[in-house]
């Protein structure tokens, strides 16, 4: 069951979550902007949630673990718990002190959002279908609402296009790109064997409905794009980390792909009046040259998938690799269903 399944109409509170929320809030409020910081002992002794647990006889080990989990939760929620060691403590006592820099926690004072911007944010959060990203997006909107005025009279209900993510590795790859974590996976390129790849994920890019991983291929020492749906294993971590990708790096990858797409030109003929004819919008003036339709494409096998949906109403003129890919796919499927 996804987290979304727990949603209902009215906001109510469950007790266990309530205790955690209070503990997290107490931790955050105690540590924010408190430059002197607190040691772990001090926090465990003074935050009500831990204090009461200790008083109730809970084991130190369990409380330590809870503290670590709480810190992790705060980090996941975007709150930077930092540690430092006091200069005066350096010689005799090297205990870490915790604090949260207030500028990492709150927006600058002049940040405001207007009603239209809030409406756009709500729409942006709604486009995530099912994936746990919708949870993150909703939390963000809740926080951002503190920056603006209510959007009275703006109707959001009409328009909610959805982004689908049916690829199992999606979230893990996004995390790896965010945190600079090197990963490995098995990849099945069409018409070839499964190979193990080691990459540094930069960005997940959706082009015309296909999710692609833009990354640095550690083995090839080059920029590569991998289609998420061709990843056929779980995502593993190598234990190595890297500097997360810069805008420049991602832009370079994009240019390389664009150049690649510009080079790929498909030429097809389509039977008039068919679904394919409508799909490629061939009634549009100038769409056909000498009865043929030409267009750029990214990947031979992806395009072959698309074209196979139209059966014999589409015939590939060129390139030969595309014609073969379409044909081989039909032959393979026919064999598999013999």
């Amino acid at each position: 069951m996804g987290q979304d399944d727990a949603l209902g109409d009215e906001g109510t509170w469950n007790l266990e979550g309530d205790e955690k929320a209070e503990r997290l809030l107490s931790l955050a409020l105690t540590l924010i902007g408190n430059k002197a910081g607190f040691t772990k002992e001090e926090l465990l002794g003074s935050i009500r949630g831990y204090h009461n647990a200790i008083a109730a006889g809970k084991k130190t080990d369990a409380i330590n673990k809870q503290f670590e989990r709480d810190k992790a939760s705060l980090r996941d929620l975007g709150i930077q718990v930092e540690t430092f060691i006091r200069d005066s403590d350096l010689d005799d006592n090297t205990e870490s002190r915790y604090f949260i820099p207030s500028n990492s926690f709150v927006w600058p004072k002049n940040v405001k959002l207007n009603a239209n911007q809030l409406r756009l944010l709500e729409l942006a959060a709604k486009v995530w279908a099912r994936a746990s990203f919708s949870v993150d997006a909703q939390r963000a909107v809740t926080r951002l609402k503190a920056l603006g005025m209510p959007s009275d009279g703006l109707d959001l209900s009409g328009f909610a296009p959805r982004i689908m993510t049916s690829e199992p590795g999606f979230l893990q790859l996004e995390e790896a790109a965010r945190d600079g974590v090197e990963v490995t996976f098995s990849y099945r390129a069409p018409d070839s064997d499964v190979t193990k790849r080691t990459v540094q994920p930069w960005q997940l890019r959706n082009i015309s409905g296909q999710w692609m991983l833009v990354c640095w291929d550690v083995d090839k020492q080059d920029i590569r794009n991998f289609l998420l749906k061709r990843i056929v294993s779980r995502i593993g971590e190598t234990g190595n980390t890297f500097e997360v990708a810069t805008h420049e790096q991602v832009a370079e990858a994009e240019q390389l792909l664009d150049a690649h797409i510009q080079k790929n030109v498909a030429v097809i003929t389509v039977t008039p009046g068919t679904e394919a004819w409508v799909h490629f919008d061939l009634d549009a003036p100038g769409a056909l040259v000498n009865g043929q339709f030409s267009f750029n494409f990214m990947d031979v096998h992806l395009l072959a998938e698309e074209l196979r949906q139209y059966g014999s109403s589409v015939q590939v003129v060129s390139p030969e690799a595309l014609r073969l890919a379409v044909r081989k796919g039909f032959e393979r499927v026919a064999d598999l269903h013999a």
Partner: protein, 338 residues
């Protein structure tokens, strides 16, 4: 506006608590109903949250309590107004986490790729704001590009936002063409294909329509029907699968490799099933018009296979052979339309 969660997790409660604190901080004072509305929670949830906020903090070594936020109960009891009596920590509106920013930014880039949002002047400010929530100079972890968007999407979007009926010519999955009246509710991109969810006055239910099977889409002067308006208020609850199963459907057992998981995600009869260790999964899909299986399965070039019934396997095989230009003798897929 939809209410938020029913039973919130501890993390979500915490998110709500800091959002509420931020809201009161930015507003100075705010009526409890306005706060509830703005944050999408019930009035009771806001009251519960306030009682958590005022006790959050830590014990001093002398046993006293440090509670950074003291709520002005007087103002609340008299006027239902939320404001602080005094607060030791200045806390503005809480920033959002990197992942939250990524989720929203990707949603925005998705909206931005739609023609009507591309020129939204408020969009640029939001994108800048979200950048400040990301680590310095790092690229967004997710990016969305729709690709070319047909003029029909624009018309349908306008119809949805203005609550109008549209007319079009539609070729259904059996290849039958007819002029239709539809009350549009939601647009969904699925891969390279867009679907429209619309209330169909003729069949008196919400159905999915492929945009590439629509022609001559035109917006009318008539408002959507009452039923369509009712469905539009529940737009978020619409099943994300494009095919809504019907009791007259044929159940077909298929096997899919990762390259064809999307097929399972869109057509599976319930949830997404567990994946076998070799990456393939078996799932039952429901098909309204069996001959459609041909293009659905052939598309994947072997990554999707029909296991049973035999009739369905035959249909897929015949579709492939016909597409290859081969004679198909005595085939069941050549049924005349009923």
């Amino acid at each position: 506006m939809p209410k938020l969660k029913n039973v919130l997790s501890g993390d979500d409660q915490f998110n709500f608590l800091i959002s509420l604190i931020g809201l009161i901080n930015t507003a100075g004072e705010i009526h409890i109903d306005d706060a509830a509305k703005q944050l999408g929670m019930s009035r009771e949830a806001v009251r519960e949250a306030m009682s958590t906020i005022v006790v959050a903090g830590h014990y001093r070594s002398d046993g006293g309590e440090v509670n950074p936020y003291n709520f002005n109960w007087g103002a609340f009891e008299q006027d239902d107004v939320l404001c602080w009596d005094n607060s030791d920590v200045f806390l503005g509106a809480p920033k959002i986490s990197v992942r939250q920013a990524a989720a929203i930014a990707a949603g925005l880039s998705f909206l931005r790729s739609l023609p009507e949002f591309a020129s939204e002047k408020d969009m640029a400010g939001l994108v800048e704001l979200l950048k400040t929530a990301q680590p310095n100079a790092s690229a967004p972890t997710i990016r969305f590009e729709i690709g070319s968007v047909s003029a029909d999407i624009e018309i349908l979007r306008k119809a949805i936002l203005n609550g109008r009926r549209v007319t079009c010519n539609y070729t259904n999955q059996r290849g039958e063409e007819s002029d239709r009246e539809l009350d549009p509710i939601r647009l969904d991109p699925h891969g390279a294909v867009w679907y429209l969810r619309a209330w169909c006055p003729k069949s008196q239910e919400v159905r999915a329509f492929r945009l590439d099977r629509m022609r001559a889409v035109a917006i009318t002067e008539s408002a959507r029907s009452e039923q369509a308006e009712l469905e539009a208020t529940r737009v978020d609850e619409l099943d994300d699968r494009v095919y809504i199963p019907d009791e007259h459907d044929t159940e077909v057992l298929i096997e899919v490799d990762p390259e064809a998981y999307e097929l399972a995600a869109e057509f599976a009869t319930s949830g997404v099933p567990k994946i076998a260790s070799n990456g393939t999964l078996r799932v039952t899909i429901k098909v309204g018009y069996l001959p459609n299986l041909g293009h659905l399965i052939a598309k994947y070039g072997g990554a999707a296979r029909v296991i049973e019934p035999a009739e369905a396997r035959q249909i897929v095989k015949d579709y492939c052979l016909q597409s290859l230009g081969e004679e198909v003798s005595n085939s069941q897929s050549e049924v005349s339309e009923d």
